[in-house]
Amino acid sequence: MDLTPTPSQTAGPYLHLGCTRLHSVPCIAGPQAKGQHLRLVCRVLDGEGNPLNDAMIEIWQADAEGRYQHSDDPQSGNCDPHCGGFGRMPTDEQGRCTFETIKPGRVPEANGLQAPHLNVSVFARGILQRLATRIYFEGDPANGECPILALVPEERRCTLLARPDPNHAGEWHFDIRLCGNDETVFFDV
């Protein structure tokens, strides 16, 4: 049998039917989860700055101690049961979706610890293969020593930063620009 991986295709404009109509996940970490709670507001924009009202965002993240709820993480046995780590939401007419979560801890890597980050997938009509990016937190002192962030050209790192909303405590905003000015950094995972 041919064991080359199956090609990706776009999720199309009706992805809600299979993915989010009954099975969206707005809460990544519940109210009892340990750590700094936050509301994460993501927005997806196209190359002309228009919001995508037909995208889906998925988030995968560690708990407040940097542990993933997954058997491949040697620390998963101690993982916070109130932090499932997974969320997914469709974008609304303004291109936005909101997650309830906590700021993750630092996840180990070959040369030290990564800065707190969320792993993000974007699906939509016009996206032939899932786009993968990361959300870091503006102002976190660990950003300067994150070995993954260091792989990103310095002038583009700002596209990976969520920023706190000055008017709403605990709310963070992250814009995903698919192309054009200030195009978000996407990763080959």
Partner: protein, 234 residues
């Protein structure tokens, strides 16, 4: 030292590019900067174990989700989910969605003037078994027009969404039916440049799966990325 065993990378020709101008929606939605190669860390080799707790008995039979039977050609779609080393991907969630037999989606934004079917929603989910097998019963979806270019029609297809074992194995794709005359005209299908890669998206008619006096059977195997052979010290 923590050992992270990375996943194998895709060969570029086996996947569609981000930008494929004949598929017009890619033009404003495809990144133009090169992707940055991300070494696999715990963030990439872990992933959500999702969907296991809320399966309903009719989730994998799209013909039994309403009071009556949907119109159209009843089909059984089955196959295995394997990694690229041939190992079964067990107990992983597959989500599907599709148009009805007339080529209309149960979706408020689908305005194709074909009838909705009150007995067909067109969404299902199933977990793979210990051998990586799955099976759905559904209705063969119809072709439908779209506005990509004049007289544009999508070949009949079923959308598939799979999680696999890690963040990097996530796959959303489409399954097609053998011999569809629309393949040559469909920029979504043609976005994959390699002919052999495109063939991987076409299900095969399968007489063994076909149930006498009931439904035609189609086989669709899915291959997700697997691990590199050697663990890396990280």
């Amino acid at each position: 030292m923590l050992k992270v065993m990375p996943y194998r990378r895709h060969e570029a020709s086996s996947q569609p590019p981000s930008l494929y101008p004949p598929y017009r929606s890619t033009v404003q939605r495809a990144p133009r900067q090169p992707l940055i190669l991300l070494p696999h860390t715990l963030s990439e080799v872990t992933g959500p174990v999702y969907g296991h707790n809320d399966m309903a008995p009719t989730d994998n039979d799209l013909t039994r989700q309403h009071a009556g039977e949907p119109l159209g050609e009843r089909i059984i779609v089955t196959g295995r989910v394997l990694d690229d080393g041939g190992r079964p991907v067990r107990n992983t969630l597959i989500e599907i969605w599709q148009a009805n037999a007339a080529g209309r989606y149960f979706h408020q934004k689908d305005d194709h003037p074909a009838p909705l079917d009150p007995n067909f929603t067109g969404a299902g989910r199933v977990l793979t078994d210990a051998e990586g097998r799955y099976q759905f019963t559904t209705i063969k979806p119809g072709a439908y027009p779209w506005r990509n270019h004049p007289n544009a029609w999508r070949p009949a297809h079923i959308h598939f969404s799979l999680f696999g074992t890690a963040f990097v194995t996530r796959l959303v794709t489409q399954m097609y039916f053998p011999g569809d005359p629309l393949f040559a005209y469909d920029p979504i299908f043609q976005s994959i440049s390699d002919e052999r890669a495109r063939q991987r998206l076409i299900s095969k008619f399968d007489l063994e799966t076909t149930r006498p006096d009931w439904a035609l059977g189609y086989q669709f195997d899915i291959v997700l990325r697997g691990r590199e052979a050697t663990p890396f010290e990280t």
